[in-house]
C-alpha cells in the first residue's frame, strides 16, 4: 500500500476537518434549535471577511465617485451659467412679445389709416434721443413725415426714406423739423388744439403751445394728434400733461407734456400714415 507523505497527510487532515465543519454548518442551518451556532459562524464569516472586503469595495467606489462628483459639479456650473443666459434671453423675448402684442392691438384701432410694422435696426448711442433707423423704406410704402408710434403712443416722425430703411426723428430731438398738430379733450366735452413745437431737455417734456388761452388744462390730461396737417391720422397718443405755463399777455399758453413711457427703449414700432398718402 502506498504511504502518504507528511504534507499529503496534513493536507488530507485539513480537508477532512474543513469538510466536517462545512457539513456541520450545513446541518446546523437545517435545525432551528442550533441557530445560535450557525449565526455565530455567519457573523464571524461576515465580520472577518465579507464586511472588510465590502468596506474596501465601498471605499474604492466612493473615491471613484469623487471624480463623478467633480464632473457633475462642472456640468452643473455650466448649466447654471447657461441658465442665466436663458433667463435674460427669455426676458428679452417676453418684452418683445409684449411690444408686438401692444402694436397688434393698436394696429386694429386705426381703421383706414396706413400702418406698416417695423423693427428698430439701429439706435446710435450718440443720438439716443435724436434718431433711429427702422426696417422699412420706400419699398414698403414709407413716406416722409409719417408718424412713428410704439404700443404706448407716438415717438417720432419719418425724416428721410431710403429703399429698404428709413430714418426717424424722435420727438425728443432738439431740432424737430416739423411741428405736430395736437388736440386735448377737456373735461367739459370741448377740445383744445395746439402744436408740439420742441422738446425741453431740462423739463424732460414736450413744449406744446395751445391756441386757446382760456382752456382749463390740468396735469395728467392726455394729448393726442389732431390729424390736421402732417401725414398721419388723429387720435394717436403723444403723452400726458406734466406742467402748464400761462402768460397773461399772450394769446398762447404753453403746456409741458411728458413723452410716452417706453420712449427710451423699444424694438418694434408702427409707421402710421393717412390713407390718401398711398
Amino acid at each position: 500500500m502506498r504511504k502518504f507523505t507528511r504534507i499529503q497527510k496534513r493536507l488530507l487532515t485539513t480537508i477532512v476537518v474543513l469538510c466536517i465543519l462545512a457539513c456541520a454548518m450545513f446541518g446546523l442551518r437545517q435545525n432551528s434549535i442550533t441557530n445560535i451556532g450557525y449565526s455565530a459562524w455567519t457573523y464571524l464569516k461576515y465580520g472577518l471577511i465579507q464586511y472588510p472586503l465590502s468596506s474596501i469595495g465601498n471605499a474604492v467606489n466612493d473615491f471613484a465617485n469623487l471624480w463623478h462628483a467633480y464632473d457633475d459639479n462642472e456640468y452643473l456650473s455650466k448649466q447654471l451659467a447657461e441658465q442665466k443666459n436663458y433667463q435674460t434671453a427669455y426676458e428679452d423675448e417676453r418684452n418683445k412679445n409684449k411690444q408686438l402684442e401692444g402694436l397688434l392691438e393698436m394696429k386694429g384701432g386705426f381703421g383706414d389709416a396706413k400702418t406698416i410694422s417695423v423693427s428698430v435696426l439701429e439706435r446710435s448711442s450718440d443720438s439716443w434721443l435724436q434718431t433711429v433707423t427702422i426696417s422699412a423704406g420706400k419699398k414698403q410704402g414709407v413716406e416722409k413725415n409719417m408718424l412713428v408710434a410704439t404700443s404706448d403712443g407716438a415717438i417720432g416722425l419719418v425724416e428721410s426714406v431710403q429703399t429698404m430703411t428709413s430714418t426717424v426723428q424722435l420727438l425728443t430731438s432738439q431740432h424737430l423739423s416739423n411741428d405736430i398738430a395736437i388736440k386735448m379733450s377737456l373735461e367739459d366735452g370741448t377740445s383744445v388744439e395746439g402744436v408740439l413745437q420742441s422738446y425741453d431737455t431740462e423739463k424732460k417734456a414736450y413744449r406744446v403751445s395751445l391756441f386757446d388761452n382760456d382752456a382749463i388744462v390740468t396735469k395728467g390730461q392726455k394729448v393726442a394728434t389732431s390729424g390736421k396737417g402732417g401725414n398721419y391720422p388723429s387720435g394717436i397718443l403723444i403723452g400726458e400733461v406734466k406742467d402748464v405755463s400761462l402768460n397773461d399777455d399772450s394769446i398762447i399758453s404753453t403746456v409741458y407734456v411728458s413723452p410716452v413711457s417706453n420712449m427710451k427703449s423699444f424694438d418694434y414700432c408702427l409707421v402710421i400714415g393717412k390713407e390718401e398718402s398711398k
Binding site: Q8, L21, L53
Partner: protein, 188 residues
Amino acid sequence: MINKERYSFIFLAILAMLDQLIASLFGVDFTYSSLSLVSHLCFCGCLLVVFHERSLNRFLYACLCGLCVGMFFTSDWLVKMLLFGLFGWAIGFFQEAMDQDHWVQFGIVFLMMFANDLICFFGAKIFGYLTMSFVKWFIHIEALTLIFNGVVIFVLIYIITVFMRYATIKDIRFKRMEKLKMQNIRRK
C-alpha cells in the same frame, strides 16, 4: 530558505480576496442589459501554483484551495472543492508543455478557466438554476470574463515567474552559505 507552501497559501488568499473585491466593485448585472465579468484570479492562480506538484499533491492543494474559497468567500464549497480539485489534477498532464513556454501556460490555464465556466453554466442549466440561453450568457457574462481573466493570467504568470526566480536565487545563496559554514567547521 523560502517556504514556498506558506507563500503560495498567502498568495492564493490575497487572490481570493481580490476576487471578492472585484465582485463587489463590478457586480454581475442579472438583468443582462449590460456586460458583466466574473473574476477567476484565485482559480487561475491555483492552477499556476500547483501544476509543478505531483498528481496527488496537486489534487489535494487544489481541493483545499477550492474548499477554503467556497467556505469563507462563497457558499458553494462542495462544487468549488470538486472543480478546483479536478482542474488542479488535470493540469498536471500538460506539465512538460507548460514548462517550455509561457504562451502554452497561458493557453492551458485560459482553456481550463473557460471549461470551468462551461461546467458551471451547464450544471446550473441542467439542475434548473438558470433559464437563460447559452448565447445570451456568453455575450453578457462570459465574453468580458474571458477578456479580463486572459489579461489577469498574464499578470499572474509574471508574478509567479518572478517569485520563483527570487526563491531559486535565495535557495542558491542559502546553499552557498551552508557550504561555507561546513567548510569553516571542517577547517577548525
